[in-house]
């Protein structure tokens, strides 16, 4: 018994032994239940209570947030951080590969995203193929292993891509490619998706038949497993969420109709820069939209992009989020959300929802994260001013009730890190001097 306890993961022990935590005296932007001045009580990684007058339990750790703003950790519905590779671009359907297999927990982008208040991200395969690879939802648990980054209980996802990117390899041999690859047109992109789901349906039927006959006690040989089609069957059965990269209104409508034809749902349209032109149809299908705040004109299909996109879609009943698709933009999604107030007049709460509860809903993790409510994970970001002000900084970030970013600590560690860096450089220089023959030494190194 004793031995078993000693072998238990350290984190579990720490959590079990962790005292309750109280964030006190802050302005709390719950996002879903209004704004109040008060405290958040955290126990075992979960938010236990949110209120104006919370009694501090004995032995609790207290974070004084006087003059500060406490909001739910920011959620980025489109990111490529922490991935060793992004595009399996050799085939038009790459559903057999997945980001989970290439997660890199040491990517500095994780820490930088944390320092921008982000606690959760949807890490997607690239957009080189009409049907791309599988995606992973992660929490920014900097310092933990690849497996520990994974958001437990999140639904698996898959990337689709429409328009210029998936058809690029059909139009030329850019990006080092030596052969052409179907498709070369938006017509071909539709075809690739319809062909794949036609195959997936047949594959699904072969397994159903096998299961039925087996259930009857017949001696049957199972169908050969197809790792490309399995994730598509999961899509057909509503077990895997489709996140589809798209720009123009025609291709958006095309995908919604293909999904209708095969009886599945598009969970989110990603980028969806012309979503404002077909907001009605997107809302009717029930797809979410995850867009940039104001990027435009970097390519032809982005020439009609407008910063009012999020506001129009919101007003027309679409569930909208603002994403980054960028290690850099990811660090200031709060500033990006503020642009929807300038362009289209969203309210403060609507703007904050675009980077918290809305992406949580899109990823179907809203019962765990996305707002400050009792029962949810204690994923919390504290700013030194209102998060929708350009003059505010993130000063602390908690995930599961643990502090993963603390600006004070970051600042105090800088001289220590700088010294360590200098030591390592001089050590490396020494090593080089010792190992290199005198004749090959270069001056000044």
């Amino acid at each position: 018994m004793k031995r078993a306890l000693a072998l238990a993961p350290l984190t579990a022990l720490w959590l079990a032994a962790a005292p309750p935590l109280v964030i006190q005296n802050g302005t709390i932007l719950t996002v879903t239940k209004g704004t109040l001045h008060g405290s958040v009580l955290i126990r075992d990684g979960k938010i236990v209570q949110v209120g104006e007058n919370i009694k501090v339990p004995s032995g609790a750790t207290v974070i004084n947030a006087a003059g500060q703003f406490v909001m739910p950790g920011i959620i980025d519905c489109h990111s490529h951080i922490a991935a060793e590779s992004i595009n399996e671009g050799s085939v038009s359907v790459s559903s057999m590969v997945g980001i989970q297999d290439v997660l890199n927990p040491e990517d500095i982008a994780i820490y930088r995203a944390l320092a921008g208040g982000v606690t959760t991200a949807n890490v997607l395969h690239g957009s080189a193929n009409a049907i791309g690879g599988k995606c992973s939802v992660i929490k920014m648990r900097w310092g933990k292993s690849a497996d520990e980054l994974l958001f437990a209980g999140s639904k698996p996802g898959i990337k689709f891509a429409l328009g210029e990117n998936p058809k690029r390899r059909g139009g030329g041999t850019a990006f080092g490619a030596t052969t052409l690859r179907y498709p070369a047109t938006r017509m071909g992109v539709e075809d690739v998706i319809r062909e794949a789901f036609t195959e997936a349906r047949a594959y699904q039927a072969s397994w159903k038949l096998y299961d039925a006959r087996k259930a009857k006690g017949e001696l049957v040989i199972p169908p050969a497993r197809d790792l490309k089609l399995e994730p598509l069957v999961e899509v057909l059965e509503g077990q895997r969420l489709v996140h589809a990269h798209c720009y123009r209104q025609d291709e958006i409508l095309m995908l919604l109709r293909v999904a209708d034809e095969f009886g599945f749902k598009i969970r989110t349209l990603q980028h969806v820069l012309e979503g404002y032109k077909v907001a009605k149809e997107i809302a009717a299908h029930g797809a979410g939209a995850s867009t940039f705040s104001d990027w435009w004109a970097y390519k032809v299909e982005a020439y009609d992009a407008i910063p009012y996109n999020a506001a129009i879609m919101t007003r027309k009943g679409v569930l909208v989020s603002i994403n980054s698709d960028s290690d850099e933009l990811m660090r200031h999604l709060n500033n990006e959300a503020a642009k929807t107030m300038k362009y289209g007049g969203l309210t403060e709460t609507e703007a904050l929802s675009l980077i918290t509860i809305n992406p949580a809903k899109q990823l179907m993790i809203n019962s765990q994260v996305g707002s400050i409510e009792a029962g949810k994970d204690a994923d919390i970001t504290i700013f030194d001013g209102h998060p929708l002000s350009n003059f505010s900084k993130v000063i602390m970030v908690l995930i599961d009730g643990q502090i993963y970013f603390d600006r004070e600590k970051d600042l105090s560690q800088r001289p220590v890190r700088e010294n360590r860096r200098k030591e390592l450089i001089s050590k490396a220089a020494e090593e080089q001097k010792r190992s290199a023959p005198a004749s090959s030494r270069r001056p000044g190194l």
Binding site: I86, W296, K299, Y308, K342, S389, N390, D410
Partner: protein, 430 residues
Amino acid sequence: MIRFCRLPSLIAIAGSLWAGSLWAGSNDTFFLRGATVHPVSGPEIPNGSILVRDGKIIGVGATLSAPKDIRIVEGRGLHVYPGLIDSATEIGLSEIGAVRETSDITEIGKLNPQLRASVAVNPSSEHIPVTRANGITAVISLPDGEGLAGQASLMHLDGWTTEEMEVSRTAAMHLRMPVIQTAHSRFPEVASSPVPFAEARKTYEKQLQELNEFFESARRYQKARAAANPGFRPDLKFEAMLPVLEGKVPLLITAVRERAIRDALEFADKQKIKMILAEGNEAWKVAPELKARNIPVILGETLALPLDEDDPYDKPFTTPGELYKAGVVFAFGTYNVSASRNLPYQAATAVAFGLPHDEAIRAMTVNAARIWGVADKMGSIEEGKWADLMITDGDPLQTQTQVKQVFIKGKAVDMENKHHRLYEKYLARP
């Protein structure tokens, strides 16, 4: 809400934000009153007035009275700032980033001092009305490429033709400092194999040598030209170098890393030319040298990633504040087309991380005007300068602030643009 009135009726002519179109093409004489005026050259004036005649500022103050029969612009509750200057853009030179046919940024070759940006700026670019709608009234349009890329032009964001837009055809000569370039790419799938360091260093040394030789040749040309011997043949490349050698046109040198910046300083010292540093991400490492030489910096984007993995996460955010403390003069540039409108938010992030608010504004107005040699014409709200103004309902560094009206040379420009047109059109879709 900005109201345009004619004395004595004081009746609002236009109630909407987009009222500017009523004024487009009309005259450039008016009296703006009742606004909080931020001249930048001096303290803010609550309930201040500005008298503009023929596009120029005639008076600024708290006690001005309106001349008879002048058009009145009611500014109550609003703020007036000088129009913002984006000190590095590709506006007019690029329409759609990925489409080569729409790009006129980079010419073939490494020694192109004869190229002039202003002749290739497209006055019909959709980026112009989008950018000025957020208060940016003038930009540097910057040719780019390896080596001497051409002449950067200072352009007003209003005008029927390039000539009407042009403020300064040759604001600077752009040079991209050679660097030791081993390959790197964010996407390992498309990365080419890296060049060995020794080889990259050789290429760099060769480029540096070619550059020095070109400057030496230009000097010999300068002498030959002065001597005016028979048989002298003009050369457009060297002709373009003369104002640089004479110190009349600054050399805008793009250098990102400390090593390249030091190379640039050494080069400027050796060639005895007037230098402006562009981008200068690691300018903080060379701040005393920049200050000692009085070299200004056109800072790159504040909202950027640190150059190195072990740099502090906020290094690009804190750099402007650090340079300010070190006494280095700088202006902000976006080095972009479609994101030029976000210039004030680049500055705002610098404020969050230590740059005084006033200095952030100065780096988009008066400092920029000084660096580009046009401080007598723009950059502050002062008598004798053009009425390049922006009227806002708040602090221009805050995203939620709306820019109500922009004036360029005293003319209320059309605030309508592609984005707002599409917004109205599709919001109204049944």
